[in-house]
Every structure is written in C-alpha cells, then in structure tokens.
Symmetry: C2
Subunit: 959 residues, 2 copies
C-alpha cells in the first residue's frame, strides 16, 4: 500500500472512529445510512445546499458568485478576502470553494490559491503542459501569500512551505494525490530549522521527499520505507519518533540519493520546479485508473476535472502549544445539539492515524469511556477553544447545515483547514433538520429537503447493534432492511409449524416462490441462495417489511439432508442464525439487535412533509394487518391489494386448484362458489381497516400454473386431495406451462377466457363493500383490471363487472356502494393507446415493474446474469427496478398519463410498482402529475417525505 | 337445414362447380386464393374499384354519384334510367348499386327499386316499424315498375310478381333472407295460370308460401317439407317435378292451412301486406344471430345496415324458349380471355341446384369433358347469346374488371340479374390484370393494384391437385403453404438419415425447437401437434418456404412407439402421408400434387411492380441456397442473416457447446477459434451469392441454453463428446435456464458479457468479406447487433466491432471492405430512445416480431391459449403476428423511424420481422417511410407487389 493510500484510508478511519464514539455515547451508531447515500445524491444535496448559500451568504461571496470571471484561472484566498466563494464548486472544487468561503467570512484560513478545474482540461489538451499564463497567475497569487505570511517561497531564512491538494466538484475520497511541505530543499530546510527546530525541519523534509517521490516522480514507495526501516534498525529503535534530528538528516541524504539513482536526475531543488511538478501531478491523477473507475461508478463526468489547491502550510506539531483536530458541529450519530470532536496536542494528521496516542475529547460532551481522564481542548487551550466555538457557530449559521470541520493550532493560533457538510446517521439527520428549523436556521421546506428520504427505511426496522460481537459466515445482497434472529428452517411449511409451536425462525431457501408466502410471513426473516435485489424473495419481503438477505451464493443448501454448508461450517435445521438485511451479513448464533425509537422529531418532520406534498401516498397491502400497519405509517389508502396471495392460504388453495382443474365453466363456477365467501370476508377485513380511504383491488393476475404443485410428491398429494388422477393433474400442469409466462396467459386474459373468475371476485368485492357499508363504515372500493393491452379487453371486462355490481346492488336492496373500475397500465401497448383505454377507465395505476420488464426486455428473475455486470461496467447507472428509468420507461408513464387525461380529464392516476417506494422515482412521478404513489407499508414514510421534497423542488423550479 | 340455407349453400356450390370445371379444362383450379381474400380486403378492393368507376362511368351514374339526394329513401331503376349508381354501395348495398348501374348503361334489367340502407336503421329505431313516407315512396316506385312491365301488383289477370332481396354494402353470402314470387295469392295465381300455365303458376305459388312462411312468418321449415313428401308418397313419385298442376294446387291449399293453423292467422292475401312483411323481414334479418356473428368475424359494422331490393320477377322456366345461367367474362381459373359459363334451358336456379340436369356450356370454350355433346347457348339461342356477349363486353369495359354475371332468358328475352367482380384464382388474377392492362382497359398501376398480393404465395408452391382423390384424416392450421408427400419420421435426426438414404420424408413432431432445424430443412414438410400460426415450426417453415401444418391437435404422437394415432388410424414411422399447408389437411398415402408454372404474365406484372414501388425488398436468408433462391424471386439484398442457425450443423454444435461450457474467457476463446473458420466460410458463400447486394448479418441472438441438450440421454451424450461430467453439463444448463428467456440473457447482452463471441463473429464476417472482395466480387456487409435496449450497449459493442474490423483490414493489407454497423429495434425502449441510439448506428432494422411480443405482452409461443379466443370473439380483429398492429406497435415503428432520423437523417431503415411478408403490413411500412422490408424468400414477390400497391395508394393520396 502506498503512503498516499494509507494516509487517506487512515484519515477516513479516523473520521469513522469519531462518529462511532459519538454513537457509543448515545444510541447505537447507524452510519450505514449516511454511507449509503450515493455520491450522486450527495452531489444533489450539495447543489441544493449551494442554492441556499448562494442566496444567503455574505456580500463578498455573493458578488463573486454573481459575476464569475470566466477568464480567471487562479483564485486567491487569504486574510478575509477571496476571489471565489462556496457557490463556485464547479470552478474551484468542493475544498477550494469552501476555503474561499471561509476566508470571506473572516475565519482564519492559511492563505493560498486555487487553480480552477478548467485548467485540468487545458492541461490534458496541451498534452500535459501547464499554460504559461497559468504559471504567471500562480506566481502572482503566490506573491500575495508570501506577503500575508511574511515568508518567501525558497527563502533561506523564512521559507514559505505549501501544501498542494486536489479538489474536485464531487467528493472523491482517497482518489486524488496530495503533496505536503512543498518548498523544502537543502537551503530552505536550514531556514525551517531556525524557525521550528532541526528535528521538525528534517522530519518534514524527509516526509516531503517521500511524498513527492511517490506522487510526482513515480518512485516505488517501498524504496523509501525500506531505508526508513534500516535507519531504525541501525539505531535499534521501533518508532519513527525515536529518530533524532541527525538520524533524519542522514535519512534525507539517503532519500535524495535514492531519487537521483532511480530517476537519473537529482531531486528538484528549485521550489517553483517542485510546485509545477506537484500541480501537474494532481492534474494527471484525474486520469489515473482508480479515479477513472471511481468516476464511472459514481456517475462523475470526466469533463469536470479537478482543481488544485495550493495553501500555506501550518503545523500542529511544532510543540505543546500546537494541536490538530476534527469536529462536528452537532452529534453526527444522534443529532443532539452538542459541539463534538477530538484533538491531539503537538501532532499532525499522520501522527493521529499512527495510532500511538489516543485522541482527546475537545469538550465534556465529546467524552467517551475510552477517553476517561484525558484533558479536553476546552480546558487545555481555552482561548483556542473559545475561538473554535465562535467559528463553528458562525459556519453552521452560514452554511445552514451541520458541519464537519478540521483545524490546526500552530503556536496557539487557530487555523481552519476544512469545512463541509457532515455525514450523519438517518436518526441524526431527522433530529438536526427539525432542530435547525426550530432554531430558524432553515425553513421547514428546507428541513424536509435535507433528510435523505431513502435513509428513513432503516429507521423503521430493528437493526444489528453495532457494538455487538458477531461471527459473519457469509454475505448476500441487502434485499430488505432490518435484522432477524431465529432457528433455521428449510421449508415454508416447517416455518409455519415451528412458529405455531412458539419458535422464531429464519426461512432459508434456494429461492422462494408464491407458495412460500405464508412461511415467509411467519418467519422473522428470509435468506436465499439465489436471486437478486428484485427476486421474488426480495420483493415480497420488502412488501412485508420483513428482513431479507438474498442471493447469498456461498450457501450450499441440501434440502434432503435438512442442512446447509457455508464455507467449512455446517448449519442444521434448528441452529440459530442472525441475518442483517441492511448489510447482507449472515451470522452464526444470536447477535444483539436494537429497536429504533421513532422520536418526536420524526413525527414532526413527517407532519411538515404532509403539509407540503401534493402527491398522495397509498400502500400495497393484501391483508387487514398490513393495511393497519400502513395506516399507522400514514398511508392514505390502498393502491394495490393483490387477490392472489389470498389464494395460497391452506383453506382456499384446494378450491383454487379445483377451479383450475375444472373441465368446463360449470365445475369452475362450483369451485369458485366455495371461494366467494372466503374472498368476501378477506375484503371485509380490509375495508374495515381502511375505513374512509380508497382501496384498489386488483383482480387475479398470475398465470394459473403458479397455483399448481410442481414436484412429483406435491402433485401426488394434490391429486389425492382433489380425488383426481395424478396423470390428470400433471397433464393440466403441462398444458399450462409457458415459455414466457410474463407474456402469457395471465391478467385480464384469464378474465376474458374464464369470465366466471373475475365475476366471482367482483361479486366478493361488492358484497364485502355492502356488508361494511351497512355497518356505517365508509368504503371506497376500486376494482383494477390487470395486464390490459387493448381497450377492447377493458371495455368487455368492465361491462361484465358493471353487470355483477348492478346485480349485487339489486340483491342488497339498492346499496349505495359504487365501486369504480380502472386498469393497470403495465403493458407498453396500453401506455401507447392510453387515450383509447381511458374511455373505459375511471383510473389508471401504472404497474412500472412489469412496464419495465416488458419495455426494457428485462425479466426481473433472469436479469441476475447480466444486470449486475451492466451496472458494474457503467453501461447503465441505476438498476431500473430500483429507480424508474426516466429516459425510457418514464416516457411511457408520461405518455400514458397525458394521453389518458386527453380523453378523460378527470382520470385518477397512480402508480403501484416497487418504484412507489423509491425517492428518486417518487419525484419523477410528481413531475408527471400523478395523483398518488403506492408502496409497501414500511416505505410509506419515505414516500411521504420524497413527495414533499418533490413539491419543494417543483415550487423552486416554478418560482 | 332451412330452405333458405340450403338454397344459398346450393347456389354457392353451383358457382364453385362452374369455377372448378373451368379449372379442369385448363390448369388445376386454385380457388383457395380467391376465397382466402378476406371480406375486409375484398371491401377495400371494391372501394378502390369504385373509384375507377366513379371516375369513368357514364354521365347518368356520375351525376347520381356526385349529388346523392340524402333525403331519398327509395331508388328506382328500370328501362335505362336509375336513381342510383355503382358508386352508391353505401346507400344501396352492392347488389342494388350494380342493378342501378347496369340499368343506366342500357342493359336489360328487370325493373325494380332499392330501399336504402338508411331505412334499416330507421326501422330498428322505430321498434320494427316501416316509416309511412317510405311506404309511400315504395308504392310510387312500384307503380313505375307496373307501368314498365305492363303488369299490376295484385292484378287478377296480369299480376306483377316481385323478388325481395337483401343487399348489404359488403358481401354477406347466405347471411340474409330472400323471398321470391311475392304478389301471388288465390286471385293472382289464376292470372299467372293464364300467362304461364297452371303447373308453373302453382309451383311458383307453393314455393312462395314456403319461403314466405319460413322467412317472414317464422314457420318451422319441416312443416312444409313433410307435406311435400307426403304428397309425393301419395302419388308414388320421387321428384317434385313429377307432381302435376292438380297435385300442386292441392298442396298449396294444404300449405295455406298449415300457415293459418300455426300462426293463428290466414296467410296474407293482400300483396302489399306481403310486401311490407317481406321488407321488414329483410331488415330484421340484419340482426339475426348468423348475421351478427358474420359481421363480427369480418369487421362489418352493425351501423351499416342492409338495403332491400324489390325487383320484378322474370322466369327462366316458362318453357323451352326460357333459360337461366351464370358466366364469367374471363376464365376464373386460368384468366384466359374467354367468355366462360353454363346455363340450363327451361329452368330456375333451384332446378339447377337440384342436380337433376347437367348444366350446359354457353359456348365451345366453356365445354368440359362432363359436358361432351351438350348443345351450347351460342347454338341453341344465337340471338340471346349474341346479346349476352355484347352485354358482358360492355360490363367488363365499364367496370374495368372481370365480371361474374347472372342472367335469365324469359321467352327469348335476355334479362341481367346480377353483375359483380368475379372471384378468381391467383393465377387468373395475374393473367387478367396483365391482359387488361395490355388491352388498355386499365393502367399498369391499376393492374398492379388489382391482384391480391397475399395470393401470390400459393403461386410459388406445389399444391394438391384439386381433382385428386384423398383421404383426409385430420386438419391442422395452414401454417406454411404448399403440399408435401413423404414417409413419416418422428425425429429430426431420422429425417436427415432417411433423406441421406434417398427417401422423401415428412417430419412429425409434437412441436419443433431450434435443434430440429436441419431435420426440417431435409424434410418435404413439417407437421406438428402443438403450436399456432406463429409457432417455431410455422415461422421456420415459412422462412424455408417449406410446407407446414401446425397445431394438429388430433394427432396423438408416441415417440417411444415410433407411431401416432389419429382418430382410429395408427400411422407408423415409414408410412406415407401427404400434407397441405394451404388448407391444413393431413391425408393418408400419396395425393397428387401440381407444380405451378410462373407464366409470362407473372414476370410482366412483377416488372411493372418493380418500376412503381419505392420500398426495396430484401430477404431473410441464412444459407447461400436460400440467398440464391430469394435472388431468383427478386430480392435486393439480405435483410436478416441469422448466425445461430449455422451453429446447429453437426460439425459446429460441439464447438458451440464447448464455448458455452467454458469456465473462463480463455477457454471460451479457444472454442470460438474452432468456429471462426467455419463461420467465415458460411459468410463467404452468402456474400458470393449476394454479389453486389447488401447483406445484413445479425450477431448471435438466442439465449445460450438453446444450444444445450435438454433430455437426460442427450445430456449424457454431450457430456461424453465433450469429455465433461454429466453433472457439470446439467449444472450449466440449470444455471442458464430462465423464467422468461424472451426477456433474458440474449442478444447484445451476450455480446456485452462475453465480448469474445461477437468479436469472433465480426472477425468472421470481415475476413469473409475480404476474401470475396479479393475475388473481384462486390460485397456490402452490414453487421447488426440485436436486442439493444440502451444506447450504451450499442456504443460499446460498436466500438468493439470497429476495432476488430480495423484489425482485420490491417491484417489483410488494407482491404477496402468497410462493413456498416447497425442495430435491431425490437425492444420497446429502443424505439422510444431511437434518437440516442441512432447516434451509434448506420442503420436500424425493426424486429417487429419481438417488438410485438414485448410491447403487446404476447409471447408468440404461449398465445395459443387465448389469442384464438380473442380473434374469435372479435376482441382483436387480426393476429398481430400476421399483420402489424398499427394502432399500438405501429406507433413504436413510426416513432423509432422519426426519432432515429431526427439525429441521423441518413439512417437506413428496414424491417426484418415476419411482417415484411404481409401485404397489409408492407403498406404500413411504406407510409412510415422505411427504405426496405425483408421477408422469407417465397414472400419476396408478394412484398414487391404490395410495395408497388403502397406506392400507387400513396400517389393517389397525394394527388
């Protein structure tokens, strides 16, 4: 590992450690959420934050933002004046923009300048040469720095040293190269000896040669490391810090020799030559493999380029009146309003990560059990601390967000090196947003917008206690969040049996099928060996709000032996495991979990969101239990109640199979007659749970073969139950099997070919509605006909349904129940002919799952063989089943909505695919003008928040 | 069977017999073609012909057509003057319009009048009552008829008798009701006795009561039949004609009694009451079940209604100076320019169909072996014949088409009862069109338009000899035209083996799969028990121009016993059968077939078509043989050369399987290296066959599991051949199996995940092109990348292909071969994002098969369970795999074309789905502005003709 990599990794680790301690103090840290937010989302967030800053920041930066000088290439900052501002991230990169902004705010920042991102492109275009005019501007800016610092670049007595750092528009952690202490040479190092002592000077020099050799000259890193090791061996010491000034002086000579012998040229003595070399290296690093791969992964455009920040060095390691530290303006784990951080006396970043000394708390609220007894910065350097508090408050107020800051104290003087929005857990994000709104730092609209909607998901599920010990034996896909602990069972039946017997179980299957639904429901969680994020197990588990780890390929499941093998471990049925649906981890035994508390901040934020949003949020629910759960989460109706899941309950599957095996419509009707009262009572329960709210019931959708047994054993059993021949059942199964069931005999096609099925269902819905209405409960049933491809299908089935409804109303003495009738728009042709279809529909519900599968030619169940490869290679940026593909499938939704309303302006429009629970997709649906989205119960809060954010964004776009 | 039904059926049979004899004289009759032309197409043809007539017919009819009196309800015709014209079919129905037109032309037509179709609607609206003003108009028109005929309706001495017939806009054979001899009662029958003899008068009276009783009064038909039988029994005779006038007088009395006892009211004596009853019955018949079902089946709108034709009766059975006959103005079987027909002396239609007497030829050219020695009309009634000749020539010239006419000679005077466009065989249609253009009756554009393009298909295949004896044992779907005779084989391997041994075979399978391709190719024809018109067997057979009967459900195939059972018959492997792919018939033993001769007329017509059309026509061909065949049929390139069929040849399937089972890309490349020279030589052959013409090669498309064995036995064999483990092969197979292969890992997704496959193919294409180019042959290779859904797929694969092409060109010393690179547009998303995709494509080829499957959610292989039901029930009118669904899928084609050209105006656009061989679809593609269509070789002429027709129609629309 190179020094560079190690440094950046260690730095990240340190930050993480700070956050972790913050969490250990209060609730368990849930850093996953913050990490999950992709760079893209982060970029978006930044850009919306930039807007706030642009609107409200001080006059100096506003002026700069308003009239950026397009010919300017080098932006100076120092002593309260800066050419740039926070609004200029595209030109200055994130780091440079914030350094400029802090400077303009009067905050002490070591002076320096930023070479703009535009130069990065110029550098490549000119085949790796810095334009002369840029060099001239750099020297001008450098002169200003010298003047401010009272030092001179290359001066023998008072040498100016600088750091050279990359800084792109989007954060690319550890991707770019950095050089510190630049400006040292045989002459200036002696000056530094005078200023800061010999040991310090030569240690700095030694580090500089090492870094520069690696980053700029491309010397193998181990050449230096080996000599350092030798020096320590010779001396008989273990730590770098045990080397004396003389040792280091000798080492420097060795290093310089090493460089010359390897490159064939002496190490550059001229500080300007050093500077040009470092600047060019930063620009070159934009094109290195790591950076290119990272950009592809995070959708960062190659053309953006990086800026270069050249900044006067300050040192936290010049003595005991020096220190360095990091802090968050609020607790990043809980969101509590406490200044929170840690520091080290007489140290530089590198010393901290060396792990020799334990960082100290900056104040009492930052103290953890690890730091018992260590003095705080507040006590040790009260002046500097006071100044730091003043600054953090200023920064938070200015940026109107919790900040993550870095500082160095050099000989008692505080310098700020960095400020940026701090990463936080989901819980902290909610707390901070609500607090800041109450503090009037931000508006409620802004508060709603500054929480990542998708992070809410984890707030609603129990999670693994971060501090718990665990033995991870395998890792699958984090398919449905939450954590589950239970005994392993290998079949749905066994799951139900054990749960009846009072056990908690985790259902383990190669993959699941509709027959496993009840077993999945009974289990604490589901673990599968096959299938992706959108496999049956994943989709159904998310719908149930049940934890699921899918596609865990390391499991070798042996149903016959009732056991599975993972690596060397054999796990038998009955053994206890724990699975984590947020990380995909599978663990042996019981691992402690924590149940989240939905505090007042959460409710408050959701209330604000509800007031802001225009899009309604319904839920997908098939049972009264789910309906109630979702209502608790704020669902305003059911957007999708699937009737087929009901068919799998043991008391009805037999009648369903009888119906399927029926040879004519008379015996089909006889079987259906048995199902009618059962379905009716299902619907009664749901209508009661959803009193006063609309309930969209989808008529039978899946192909009939899904209800038939598949294995020889099951076929024999079913034949026995039905008093039918095995051969007959098998023949029926074969006649129903399809090459492409997705495009086969299902949905409304069943309704057209076997009209008695839908008639039974419509009757059950209407009768149930009449019963519940008679209890004085308001019912709003909506009957949804699936898989319509042609208006004639809907027109016929609608007429049929209307007839049944009229019959029931008559039978029930003229009940006022009046179900509306609409259709799914899930077949591309339906979207294309939506104007004609709308003539027969009271509402449309876009089934974006199937619409994506068909219009993208992507079978969800089969995409595992190539879709991950596509995403990895950057051919497509998002899984189109997670976020709707706006470019392609989105066109069909937009077109379907427009054309539908063109012939029927009052058409109600919704969406009930998985996309209804994805914030990015929800925002898209808002722009299309849908009336509601529908998602699984646990995603309802998330959708409410995303809908509110969409409304704010739309208002901004208009205003 | 009712009299009405029997009559119309018999009439149809007589017509058929005439045509059949015409064929027997010359070439075998191929009436199938003419019958196949659907009503819809016929209606279209009629409408385009109407245009010609409208433009060129005589002044009187033109005036009438130009200013139709919208308030007029009753249209008189007689004695050279008519209120209507041929252009008024919508108002007068087909029959009424032609009667008016003939009258205006001065042709002797029994006078009468037509009650317009508008009255049909009025009749229903008024709850089954004729409006009084219509009755008044009818009486006015009737008075004119009386005056012209010198007879009076209801007159005791000179009674006028009329026929009352239906006549809708579109032909609805046998659907509507007719009443003859109306006006007879106890009084007028005596007058008729005076005029025409007692036996004639009472026979007419008896028939009238019977028809009126059935059609108007709804009396069960058998009531009359039984009394007629009794009368013959009492008399001891067998034939109706053996009954005397007295017998008939007694029978009439019995019939009148029957009516009264059954209806409770006496048979109406008042001729006017009779007339109102009959007119209303015709209007009512528009709503009878048969008519409604027929309309639904043939897309005839309910609102069109029927007209009623009331016409003075004329009699061909009043003595030996009377006759009746039918004729075609040219030979309907061969198209020869001979007046062609048959007649009977002293007869009415009913007598002819009674089958007692053999109809006589009207002239020598109409004589057949059956009519040896019978006198011709030309000799027997030279005056009438001469008149008939004058009239038929006038009609043909006027209507500018071959006519089917009906005439009656009453006491030496010729009356024309009907004229209409004559149905004809495909061969006759071609001959007639070319002849008429040469005679300057029509233009060449019109000649091209008056042949039904889809009928050409049968001209190119051998067909069953109509006159051959046959034993039909089952009937399946006519999946691919032509006839085949051969020994039954039950496997593709056996087919190949037998054919190598010199046998001719018919391959019989439950259904076929890609593995059967070579066996299908070797066979004379293919017969399957399962699958529809677009099953694998059907599609592939049509592509090969091979006869196929598909979905013959009656076959119980037992592979194990090497036999099949059909009804009671057992057919063993080796038994000879004959199959007819045009009718779907399966026959025992050898049935004679005839090979069509493509005469000069065909070539001439095609040359005209080629001059007119703008759309180019390519072919789908995978072998040099097919390519040559198609070139012979006029193909202008290959629009689709599938590379996967090549993979199934025995010498390469092993390498293909090795490639699939390869664990890494190195071993995959090793296997591909074996395939490279084989593929190269395939392409060389095709490029040579298509010298100078473009050849579009599609890279590998199907999912890899299609190439692996499926049965245990085959898996074992393959494992042996590959020196691999059975378990390994099985595991690979399982890992490749997909839930919805159509939407799975295939097409360019294979190219993305296994780039070495496409690289090999691109190399083979480019190398082959270089080799052939070096021979001095011009090659125009086009590389087509399938299943692109996202522009990024194409951009990546294009870059990859371009690299390989550049490599090959360099290796070959800078060859000038420059393959273009394009894509299929077959995924809906690709059509929607065509503007972006076009940036990376030199051409698009619409894959409308898959586009239909995906955008319509219709798996071709699975649609058999519901699509036939949909068509039967009129939910959709056409199978969207036969004719493109313009309303839905057509939008995607249009959109794809427009958007593609929006970013790349020179984009070449084609279509290579099955629709390229469907005339209706070809016309649609012409309107969309595609550059070419591509279809199977045997469909190339059909597409050329359809393309020409499209050009004419477009010119008409513009001009």
């Amino acid at each position: 590992m190179t020094a560079r990599k190690r440094t950046s990794k260690k730095k990240a680790a340190r930050k993480k450690a700070v956050r972790k301690k913050a969490g250990a103090r209060g609730k368990a840290a849930r850093k996953g959420a913050a990490k999950k937010a992709s760079t893209k989302k982060a970029a978006k967030k930044r850009s919306s934050r930039r807007k706030f800053v642009g609107a409200k920041a001080g006059a100096s930066s506003r002026a700069a933002a308003a009239t950026p000088d397009s010919s300017r290439r080098v932006y100076f900052f120092g002593n309260g004046r800066a050419d740039g501002s926070a609004a200029m991230k595209e030109v200055l990169g994130g780091k440079g923009a914030n350094l400029a902004e802090m400077t303009s705010l009067g905050i002490p920042v070591p002076p320096g300048f930023t070479i703009s991102t535009a130069v990065c492109a110029q550098y490549s275009e000119r085949g790796g040469k810095l334009p002369a005019e840029v060099k001239a501007d750099v020297l001008t800016a450098l002169a200003k720095v010298e003047q401010l610092m009272g030092l001179r670049f290359g001066d023998a007595e008072k040498p100016l040293l600088v750091s050279v750092r990359s800084g792109a528009r989007a954060s690319m952690p550890g991707m770019m190269d950095t050089v510190l202490n630049l400006g040292l040479n045989r002459v200036t190092v002696e000056g530094l000896c005078q200023l800061a002592g010999e040991r310090f000077a030569f240690d700095s020099y030694r580090r500089f040669i090492q870094m520069y050799g690696d980053v700029v000259l491309g010397l193998p890193h181990d050449r230096f490391e080996q000599r350092l090791e030798n020096a320590k061996l010779r001396k008989g010491v273990e730590l770098d810090t045990d080397l004396t000034a003389a040792d280091l002086r000798a080492l420097v000579a060795e290093f310089l020799e090493t460089v010359e012998s390897h490159t064939g040229r002496p190490f550059p003595e001229d500080p300007k030559e050093q500077l040009w070399g470092a600047v060019e290296a930063v620009f070159r690093s934009w094109q290195n493999n790591r950076a290119v791969a990272y950009r592809r992964l995070h959708n960062i455009e190659d053309a953006w380029g990086t800026a270069v920040n050249v900044q006067s060095m300050v040192f936290g390691n010049m003595g005991d009146d020096c220190a360095t530290g990091v802090a968050f303006t609020r607790n990043p784990s809980t969101g509590e309003r406490n200044f929170y951080g840690e520091y080290l006396i007489n140290a530089q970043g590198e010393d901290v990560v060396a792990g020799v000394r334990t960082p100290q708390p900056i104040n009492e609220p930052s103290r953890t059990p690890d730091t018992e007894g260590l003095p705080t910065l507040e006590r040790e350097m009260p002046q500097a601390y006071k100044e730091l508090v003043r600054i953090y408050k200023r920064l938070e107020k200015h940026y109107r967000d919790m900040q993550d800051i870095e500082f160095t104290i050099q000989r008692g003087k505080l310098w700020m090196l960095q400020t940026r929005s701090g990463k936080r857990t989901a819980a902290a994000a909610v707390q901070i947003a609500v607090d800041m709104a109450k503090e009037r730092l931000i508006s409620r609209e802004e508060a709603v917008c500054c929480v990542d909607a998708s992070s809410l998901d984890q707030l609603l599920h129990p999670t693994i206690d971060r501090n718990a010990d665990r033995q991870v034996i395998a890792r699958g896909l984090p398919a449905s969040p939450g954590a589950a602990v239970g005994r392993v069972v290998f079949s749905a039946e066994e799951a139900e049996a054990q749960v009846r017997a009072g056990e908690k179980v985790v259902l383990v299957r190669v993959e699941t099928s509709p027959e496993d639904i009840l077993g999945m429901h009974a289990s604490e969680g589901v673990l599968t060996a096959k299938g992706g994020m959108t496999s049956h197990a994943a989709v159904v588990a998310r719908g149930m709000g049940k934890c699921c780890v899918a596609g865990c390929g390391a499991l070798a499941i042996d149903y016959a032996a009732d056991q599975m093998r993972v690596g060397g471990v054999v796990i038998k049925a009955g053994d206890v495991i724990t699975i984590d649906g947020s990380s995909g981890e599978v663990m042996l035994g019981v691992v402690d979990t924590v149940t989240p508390e939905l505090g007042g901040a959460f409710s408050e934020l959701m209330t604000w969101a509800d007031r802001i949003r225009k899009l309604r949020v319904r839920t997908n629910a098939d049972t009264p239990q789910d309906a109630e759960l979702a209502r608790g989460f704020g669902a305003e109706g059911i957007g999708l109640c699937r009737t087929e899941h009901m068919f799998f309950e043991p008391d009805r599957i037999l009648a369903v199979r009888e119906m399927i095996l029926a040879g004519d419509s008379a015996s089909r009707e006889a079987a259906l007659a048995k199902l009618l009262p059962i379905q009716r009572s299902d619907f009664e329960g749901i209508f009661r749970a959803m009193a006063g709210l609309p309930v969209t019931v989808r008529l039978l959708d899946p192909p009939l073969h899904e209800f038939l047994p598949k294995t020889d054993k099951d076929i024999a059993a079913v034949a026995g139950e039905l008093r039918s021949e095995v051969a007959e059942v098998r023949a029926k199964l074969e006649s129903l099997m399809e090459f492409n069931p997705m495009l086969g005999h299902r949905g409304c096609r069943l309704g057209v070919t076997f009209p008695e099925i839908y008639r039974m269902q419509v009757r059950a819905i209407t009768e149930a509605a009449c019963v519940v209405a008679a209890e004085g409960i308001k019912v709003k049933p909506e009957i949804m006909i699936p898989l319509v491809a042609h208006a004639a299908e809907l027109s016929r089935l609608r007429a049929d349904a209307a007839q049944v409804i009229a019959d029931v109303r008559r039978e029930r003495g003229g009940s006022r129940v009046r179900p509306s009738i609409g259709t799914m728009i899930e077949v591309p042709r339906a979207a294309l002919t939506a104007d004609i279809i709308a003539e027969h529909a009271d509402f449309f519900s876009f089934g974006t799952n199937d619409l994506t599968q068909m219009a993208y030619a992507l079978s969800r169940d089969d995409a595992g063989n190539f879709l991950p490869h596509y995403i990895e290679e950057g051919i497509i940026s998002d899984d189109p089943f997670v976020s709707i593909d706006e470019e392609g499938i989105g066109q069909l939704v937009r077109l379907g909505a427009e054309r539908g309303r063109s012939t029927r302006p009052d058409l109600k429009l919704g969406i009930c695919g998985e996309h209804g629970g994805d914030p990015k997709s929800v925002k898209f649906f808002a722009t299309v003008g849908l009336d509601y989205v529908s998602c699984s119960p646990y995603r309802v809060p998330l959708a409410r928040l995303a809908a509110a954010q969409a409304a704010v964004e739309q208002d901004e776009a208009v205003g």
